[in-house]
Symmetry: C2
């Protein structure tokens, strides 16, 4: 249990890897780079999905489903996008197995069942979707198309880590088509804000909203908006992106519409996505050396009730009270578990539910029944309170909200105290080496400088923050004139 969990200060990376497995979120599979999302982890992902799906629908989007496979010739139609993903594509070349005569009971690929054209397992679906949109759009009346897809995608990664970087991952990808550039840009920004609101209000993760530099932009996009979060080790994590595609995919797939004047124009596009990577961000933002810390909005179990008893009679009395609480919590849609296992001691259970990040715990012993009080513990700050049994339901409902807010405030404080303005490269390196976090620095705007800084420090430009005010200055590396600061950081 948590006793065996590596401490964050010792080895943050090891702590993360262990915690994901020990808390039953996910594990590695026998398939290189592909993970198994276990029921407890998947329950958290389902809560994320439900809320995002609600937000997408509220902003006018509909779900649909497009094929897993993309024929190679279609995949390569938008050249920049294809080039960007070419090195990580899983390719289907055959469609049949047959008995291996040399190894009875074994199978081998049937060479007679070679596909005429190879199929790419989608690393992203712009190609297949824009080739479809061609058939859906004739006139301005068919626009906008506001479509989202929940799907699995495959990007063949060489170095993988549970949730953060896996060869297969789950995500949603929005793909919209518009009559005007302005409308597409508005959509791109809107969805970035949807993601930011979701991260902050639902996951309690503060994010910086910004745009990517040319070199970090999505392949095939004209502008990439992003939300960037900061993990407890001072490394940044890109939590979601929203791309303005210009007319690139419309041109590659010949998607035109007749405008109100009857003139043919190319359609404007956007795409945007978040993935199971958010699970990694969730773990790394809030959790501690005892295990997961989950924001109440995302906790599969929001309150656990642990009985403290010696005799069967005590257990029966406590169970009656606990079951009554369970039904009251359910009425309020508070998800509750009464841990009535008789095979484990309370101390074991406390540690287990702490490891799993359950936000609140009610302990009930014979004395509590007598005194009409319960001991209520908060997972986030590990405090305990004695609460009257009458008021406990309201108390829990209230502190669940408090915890949600406190987690955000705590993460926000950490983030805000880890955005450091520097004036020169010495300071820049010093912050990265001794403090970490975001470094706010002037940059001359060239790709060469960006690349050089990455070489020297491993830090990349995470984003050009949206709220950046113009400010005269000089590039930290080259000393050339610069008009605004950008955010650098080492990143996941």
């Amino acid at each position: 249990m948590s006793k065996n969990l590596t401490k964050r200060a010792e080895d943050y990376s090891k702590w993360y890897n262990e915690l994901v497995v020990k808390a039953d979120l996910a594990e590695n599979s026998a398939v290189r780079g592909c993970m198994i999302i276990k029921p407890y982890g998947y329950a958290i992902w389902e809560k994320m999905q439900a809320e995002l799906d609600r937000m997408f629908k509220e902003t006018g989007h509909q779900n649909a489903y497009f094929p897993l496979f993309v024929p190679k010739s279609m995949f390569e139609a938008e050249e920049k996008n294809a080039e960007g993903f070419a090195k990580e594509c899983a390719v289907v070349t055959h469609y049949r197995l047959k008995n291996d005569e040399d190894n009875p009971g074994k199978l081998k690929v049937d060479e007679n069942a070679k596909l005429e054209e190879e199929l790419i397992v989608r690393p992203t679906s712009e190609a297949i979707i824009w080739s479809t949109y061609k058939g859906w759009v004739q006139s301005y009346r068919d626009l906008p198309l506001l479509i989202n897809q929940w799907a699995n995608v495959v990007r063949w990664e060489m170095r993988t880590r549970l949730f953060l970087r896996t060869s297969e991952f789950l995500w949603q990808e929005g793909h919209t088509a518009h009559a005007t550039k302005e409308e597409a840009l508005e959509e791109t920004e809107k969805m970035m804000h949807v993601y930011a609101d979701f991260a902050e209000q639902f996951m309690a993760i503060p994010v910086v909203r910004g745009t990517k530099t040319d070199s970090e932009r999505f392949a095939g996009a004209e502008e990439t908006y992003c939300i960037e979060a900061l993990m407890q080790d001072g490394k940044a994590l890109q939590a979601g992106t929203s791309h303005f595609l210009g007319q690139n995919f419309a041109k590659a797939f010949d998607v035109k519409f007749a405008n109100k004047e009857g003139k043919q124009e190319y359609v404007w596009g956007t795409s945007w996505g978040v993935s199971t990577r958010l699970m990694g961000a969730l773990v790394m933002t809030h959790s501690d050396d005892l295990g997961l810390v989950l924001p109440p909005n995302l906790a599969p179990i929001q309150v656990v009730i642990v009985p403290i008893f010696k005799t069967e009679e005590e257990f029966n009395v406590i169970s009656k009270v606990a079951n009554e609480l369970v039904s009251q919590f359910k009425k309020l849609n508070i998800s509750v578990k009464f841990d009535n296992r008789t095979t484990h001691k309370p101390g074991f259970k406390f540690a287990e539910w702490e490891l799993k990040g359950v936000p609140t715990r009610i302990a009930i012993g014979p004395k509590d029944i007598e005194n009409k009080t319960f001991e209520v513990a908060r997972r986030d700050n590990l405090t305990k309170e004695i609460v009257s049994s009458e008021g406990v339901i309201t108390y829990i409902a209230t502190i669940l909200e408090t915890i949600q807010n406190d987690l955000f405030s705590k993460a926000l404080h950490y983030r805000d105290t880890h955005i450091t303005e520097v004036q020169n490269f010495e300071e820049f390196k010093d912050v990265l080496d001794h403090k970490a976090g975001f470094v706010s620095a002037h940059w001359d705007g060239t790709e060469e400088t960006e690349e050089k800084i990455k070489e020297l420090t491993k830090a990349t430009i995470r984003c050009i923050p949206l709220n950046n005010s113009l400010e005269e200055g000089f590039c930290v590396l080259t000393g050339s004139k610069s008009t605004r600061r950008v955010l650098f950081a080492k990143a996941y």
Copy 2:
């Protein structure tokens, strides 16, 4: 619109293919055999998913996610299962593309990026899941495992049809592990009943519950339970299956547990699934020559409001009333659309919403406003009623329930009058040729006879119904003694 829809009596198969596309449910993609599920079709699928997911969770199951790919050596471990699916496996052999020097701007498979071991795109997930269960099960305390997965699977089909048979399809697959044979059998049957209840109560599709013969059984299972529905053309459709796997997969993947006495035993397994094929069953059970007929439980729009107006003033008055209705329907969770397009005539709208199967329609003209009445039309039986504007909300709520029940009754009547008992092979053929539907016949229990009947008539044994009473008789083909009747039919 429906004017152009082929009539069922003319060509049922063509009617189906056209309807699926015209009603915006799905379309074929550029990828052989893979479909695109369009937003309207996907919205119906989402409603199915939500209800099934609720039912699975209510019966103690949790969702998880396992990899898309299965290494070949793992795939072939359970030999019968592997053999059963070998001929329809999409195989990933490479993990990278590179620039094609001979064709600038084009890509080709990088031969240096050949996988050491081929990966099968899952046609079903028993192999990958049981290889994982090995790590999850040590003791009887770890059992049962009750897990479900929502996923896409690929079976390379040579002849495909939208929803009914596609190379990629969406489904859920439950995979459970148990300490005893009895418990696994109980689970297998339970899930068949969950499917049957879902089909009947939610989709309004009556089904026969039964077991498959040896030849129709799932590869790797010891018993396959199924639910069989009857389409309007008298052909059967397998709507869901639940498999008792015995210890086959436990043995193939060495999944053992220590029982209460500390002795090692193999685990018992089940698996069960339904897919987007259900969409096909839905269309073919209820729809008519005007288009879709959707049971209210599954209709993305349950009531559509169409304004009848000439002047803008009339339109404004009607809109006010309609918007008021919309907000009242929303309060009752009745999904409603006010079709306020000014670009289309009422007749066009009527036909469009009929084609899309919206269960009820309210038409509002200036006269209706004056008389405080609305015209309400039912999609299922095409009747119209004049309803007082005051009572219209309650009226719609009530007829939505009525329609749900009536659709089931109508389908049940059709089904029940299309189960024909026959005594000999002449009658058998005659029913298939002139009446269609299920043929209830004695069968000698041999695979040879089953095969011969299939050759002669194209009919297969759909199932051995669960409620079959024992009855002495003689096989319709061979005249050999038989103890019970089974259900034959031509099938999708």
